[in-house]
Symmetry: C2
Subunit: 328 residues, 2 copies
């Protein structure tokens, strides 16, 4: 049973006793709730565990705290929601010093500030390893909600930034000689302090020409596959925007840069399905607003499966439950 | 540094960048947010870890799931909030079978149904031990919000039920010969399937004569101390309603039943501060509504500290960070 199969079984168990005002449950980036007719609240939760999602030889506890909060902010970004508040449950090993707990918390608070999320409570507990469980809430206007299931045949597959830098940073943290100078610094920053695209998400969500959105936290090949399944479509990928540090890392490792970037997770860029006629105009407005490019990476098609470079593309990203998944 | 000291330091770090619509942050049973003028949303989060909060020789995974969700529902009950939805992040050890994950989830879903909470999303992750991190949201009318800080000198300290049964169940699970027959069954049920007092919380919250509320999850001696500190008061405890199973367990262990019940956590009864003139009427209405007694256990006083049986009472409940705290 892989992660998606267990999630499906869990959703079945949880389905009973559903509130009619819960408009979207397990399976999207966040759950949606309707506190009033005009409002939607988006809820998301993520757990980071030392030894599974991070190890302290590769990043500091402050970085780990940042990443945990950024992952939640990214899920809200994918719903087009304005981040509002978060609760933080921390599991702390017996051997940890109070200063370590506070270091971790400083990273959590810094990422919260960067996304304008208020930390509004939580829990503190002993645990065998540092465990960061965050739940976050955002607000979105009902008409702006974008789901995974909304993509249409012919829509442009867009991503909000270059991919692969976080994976390059992971490889560079493991092998210091892999990258040098500025490329190394940029890769490490992308890996340790990724930025959630909340403003970009709200911008895209406000457009009627955006049919679907999700974030790209498990790698484009995995997450695009999820989006395709939710929308009952397939996709052709033509061109992957690869971060310079990722190209360099891939070449140093003897890998194809585009495939390296396709399988690299934790970039926190957004994937959006955009009406083909509107793409050029929207990309120009995006560039004017954020000073960065909105990249067209391919097209949604009716035929299931993802094609890249003329061949079917297998999922290569992160599956928390695949037997072959190793820690980090 | 004990749990409360670390929470204070964490609250300091998190204080920056606070949204004005967040009316109450770290330190109460739940955080409060104002999505609109008339509404308040209450947010809470709790983490349960195998080996820390539960062990499988004493309860099933289904029970552990129930308890995790009930703990969150109880925090909402303490705010007088109607439970709405919850997110569930599960950490699952590599050795776990999918059937075990689903068993755990069935307990979570059953407790959610019992409190009318919808499970609306979450996360699944590898972890060194089963870890259940739940965040829950409730709704409460602005005028019904009861905080820990609202108690007044002279208020009656009331609890919504007998105490100590959950601790008796823990002792009975550890030592099967301690209790027999029906007493044993009731103690084990209280320990493994505690009930959050959501309806009772909403009932009390609707009364103008209730000044403060919190839940009694870490033991009355610890939680009443927290309520006193938040309200800048002290308290005299005169009479503790002890569950029959708790009396029997205490006697079998050679302990004083009232002190046994005072220090026993996880009962999930509510503690309320009630205007003295209104107590009798409110207790009668409570009994008529729920068929159970609302117990007066003592009185709030201006002088700090808690007095029991003419002597100062030390905290004896659960502190997740005290050096002496052992697993369970």
């Amino acid at each position: 049973m892989n992660e998606d199969a267990i999630v499906t079984a869990i959703a079945e168990i949880a389905r009973s006793a559903h509130d009619r005002r819960i408009l979207l449950g397990i399976g999207d980036d966040a759950a949606l709730w309707q506190p009033s007719r005009s409002h939607r609240s988006a809820f998301t939760a993520d757990m980071l565990v030392e030894g599974v999602h991070f190890t302290r030889d590769l990043m500091s506890l402050e970085d780990a705290g940042w990443r945990a909060m950024a992952a939640n902010a990214s899920d809200l970004a994918a719903m087009g929601a304005r981040p509002v508040l978060a609760t933080v449950s921390l599991g702390v090993p017996e051997s940890a010093k109070p200063a370590e707990v506070l270091e971790l918390y400083r990273g959590i608070a810094a990422a919260a500030r960067a996304s304008r999320l208020s930390v509004a409570g939580g829990d503190l507990s002993r645990a065998p390893a540092f465990t960061i469980a965050i739940a976050a809430v955002g607000e979105v206007r009902a008409s702006n909600v974008k789901l995974r299931s909304g993509a249409r045949t012919g829509d442009v597959i867009a991503v909000t930034g270059e991919l692969g830098a976080s994976r390059a940073g992971l490889e560079a943290a493991k092998e210091p000689s892999l990258l040098a100078g500025d490329l190394r610094q940029r890769a490490l920053a992308a890996f340790r302090r990724p930025n959630a695209r909340c403003d970009e998400g709200r911008f895209l969500a406000a457009s009627r020409n955006v049919d679907a959105m999700m974030d790209c936290s498990d790698g484009l090949s995995t997450d695009l596959d999820r989006l395709c399944i939710a929308s009952r479509l397939g996709a052709c990928i033509r061109d992957v925007p690869v971060a310079e540090s990722a190209s360099a890392a891939a070449r140093a490792l003897g890998l194809d840069p585009q495939r390296f970037a396709l399988a690299g997770g934790e970039d926190f860029e957004l994937i959006a399905a955009i009406r083909p006629r509107a793409f050029k105009r929207l990309a120009a407005a995006f560039h004017a607003r954020f000073g960065r490019k909105l990249y067209a990476v391919g097209t949604f098609r009716a035929q299931p499966g993802i094609e890249y470079d003329g061949e079917p593309l297998a999922r290569e990203g992160w599956d928390h439950f695949a037997a072959s998944t190793s820690a980090l």
